[in-house]
Amino acid sequence: MAVATPSEAPAAADAARPGRFRSWLAAVGILSPPVSWLVLFFLVPIGIVAAYSVGALSFFPGDQALSLGGWERFFRGSIYLSLFWKSVRISLTVSVVSVLLAYPIAFFLALGAKKRKYVLLLVIIAPFLTSYLLRVLAFKVILGDEGLINTFFYSLHMRSPGHPIPWLLYSQFTVMLVLAYVWVPFVALPIFVALENLDQSLLEGASDLGASRWQTFWRVTFPLSVPGVMAAFVFVFIPTIGEFVTPLLVGGTRGFMYGNAIADLFGPGFDWQTGSVLALFLLAVTAALALVFGRFLQIRSVAAE
């Protein structure tokens, strides 16, 4: 970001030619690793995916035929588009829920926990030192038909054995639950940073001027933490739209998401053209979202702090 900031270079730079050459060399030297990294591992792959999406490259050698058919089928009311909106709904829910759950945690850590805050932060992140698969397996043990929750209800005779709560495992609910669980600690971080950087004297000032704690929160603390909240929101929302591992493991047939469709089309589906169309559409939407959020919500101000 910082690199692309418009320069205010003085036009009188012509004066020192050898100096100019040297700094040009320095610029190339510093820029070339990140630029070539981006070009090699980001732009080129996207170019290749784009070539697949219009049939310039194909799965079976010799099948190339330029056509926009893949794009046309996608936009003409395909099931993939409705699957996309479903994924947007799931990830909106997950993002909102994670932010709501993470805010109090971040608030306590930043403003209430005093000296112990970094220890507590570590405690929150601790479960993430174990494998993701193990944690998902644990969810299966808890949510299964003969799992902890269902057997608890059986023992209280609130449900008869053999009639478990059907939506606990392998459902959209499970996907959202596991995703929210996974993301809460990561969401807490940007909010924590925003709150920690809060100028404490503002809070003191509010209290001096007679504001109640509730008023202080709503009129001072919360507005100042909004950039952190928005950053946290985007932080969850963008990666979860394309999520496919969690739905694969706990989603069952109903938790199937847009990301699973992409994975299937590139994998066993053999339809790299449609898969590329889906992938590029997702990329375009998330890039647009990132731009909108970046421009209007000043995420950069959080990042710079």
Partner: protein
């Protein structure tokens, strides 16, 4: 740090220049990538590196559960210090897709219906059966099924059935009194059914609806697809890993599943009351075996490995532990006992004949099948 970078850059490189350089570099990279079409080696190499000079790091793309040493003991004996390395596949389609995407094992374990696809992709070479002493013991009919244009691209090894595994204590006996694939689609057991994540469900639907499941035309395929879409709401999940399915089955999360006989054995051994459906529309069946990648650097190691798998020793172990058949004709299936042999007639030479079972075969319009299956899954989720 960011400030330092900016200070160095600011006087000389403005944003427009920066973008221009990046675009130039990107364009060059893209051109290079497009120009270099991946050459898929189709030709068979005339000469091979002697076995002693081969790297010996045999990479096997295998079904989970088939990596056990009991299944390749003769290979371990021949190369005690060079155990093969295994990567696991979840379905034939997934295996083919992964190799198409650039993964290069030495040996893959697909099933007979996909051999033509592997040859079409141009990534496999024929085996030299003279390097495999055990090959002569294999059932000639099955061996013939592994030939394309007179070349032995596929060594047939394990074979067996595909049907629905179900819990006898949870399923109403009336629903299996006249055994049919209808159990797999029975709304009464909504939420307790698990399908394999593979296009074989379309094949099953095809036979259930009275068509030739492996050879449906577009109209029939559409019919099978619509049927699956109308039934998919009763399905709890599509399984991709056999172990996950076994766990779900054992945990009581599912009562009816797409399964192979090894799953029956596994559940039976855990003490679950299970049965394996023998539907009147016919079970599906399969022969799996090995293909040799065209650019393998372990040509002789690979032959030794396939030869080990073709041995009677391996076949017998496979039979006794997974109840699978093996194309080695010298093994003795009677050890399974009458009851198991009735359930899985691996001793019956006519076991794989139509219309009792429908053996896995090449689907020329597989792309259409794949697309239809993807749509069923997307429809289930949407």
């Amino acid at each position: 740090m960011a400030d330092d970078v900016q200070r160095v850059l600011q006087p000389r490189v403005d944003r427009r220049d920066f973008l221009r350089y990046s675009a130039l570099a990107g364009g060059a990279g893209l051109l290079a990538a497009c120009a270099k079409k991946t050459p898929l080696p189709a030709a068979v190499k005339a000469t091979h590196t002697p076995v002693a000079q081969e790297p010996g790091n045999l990479e096997v793309f295998e079904w989970a559960g088939y990596e056990l040493k009991q299944l390749w003991r003769p290979y371990a004996k021949a190369f005690p210090d060079q155990p093969p390395h295994f990567t696991f596949l979840t379905s034939d389609d997934q295996a083919l897709a992964k190799v198409r995407a650039g993964y290069r094992p030495d040996v893959v374990h697909p099933c007979v219906g996909y051999v033509q696809d592997w040859v079409n992709l141009g990534v496999v070479q024929p085996w030299d059966t003279s390097l495999m002493p055990n090959f002569s013991q294999l059932d000639p009919t099955k061996a013939a099924a592994g030939q394309i244009d007179g070349k032995q691209y596929f060594i047939p090894l394990d074979w067996g059935f595909t049907s629905a595994l179900y819990r006898t204590d949870k399923i109403d006996p009336a629903d299996v009194a006249d055994p049919s694939w209808s159990l797999y689609f029975n709304e009464k057991y909504a939420g307790k059914i698990s399908w394999w994540d593979a296009l074989e469900n379309l094949v099953i639907a095809g036979y259930y609806l009275g068509m030739d499941g492996y050879a449906m035309d577009d109209t029939q395929l559409e019919q099978a697809k619509q049927f699956l879409i109308s039934k998919v709401h009763i399905v709890r999940n599509f399984w991709t890993s056999e172990t996950d399915m076994d766990q779900d089955f054992a945990a009581g999360n599912i009562y009816i599943a797409y399964a192979w006989q090894g799953d029956w054995v596994s559940m039976h051994n855990q003490g679950l009351p299970v049965a394996y459906l023998d539907p009147k529309e016919g079970r599906l069946s399969w022969i799996c075996g090995m293909v040799l990648l065209a650019d393998t650097k372990n040509y002789y190691h690979a032959h030794e490995y396939a030869n080990a798998w073709a041995s009677a020793q391996t076949g017998q172990w496979l039979l006794e532990n997974y109840y699978y058949g093996h194309s080695n004709t010298t093994i003795d299936p009677s050890v399974l006992g009458k009851q198991a042999l009735k359930l899985f007639p691996v001793a019956d030479p006519t076991a794989l004949q139509e219309p009792k079972t429908h053996i896995d075969r090449y689907i020329p319009n597989r792309a259409a099948y794949n697309q239809a299956w993807d749509e069923v899954k997307a429809a289930a989720g949407a």
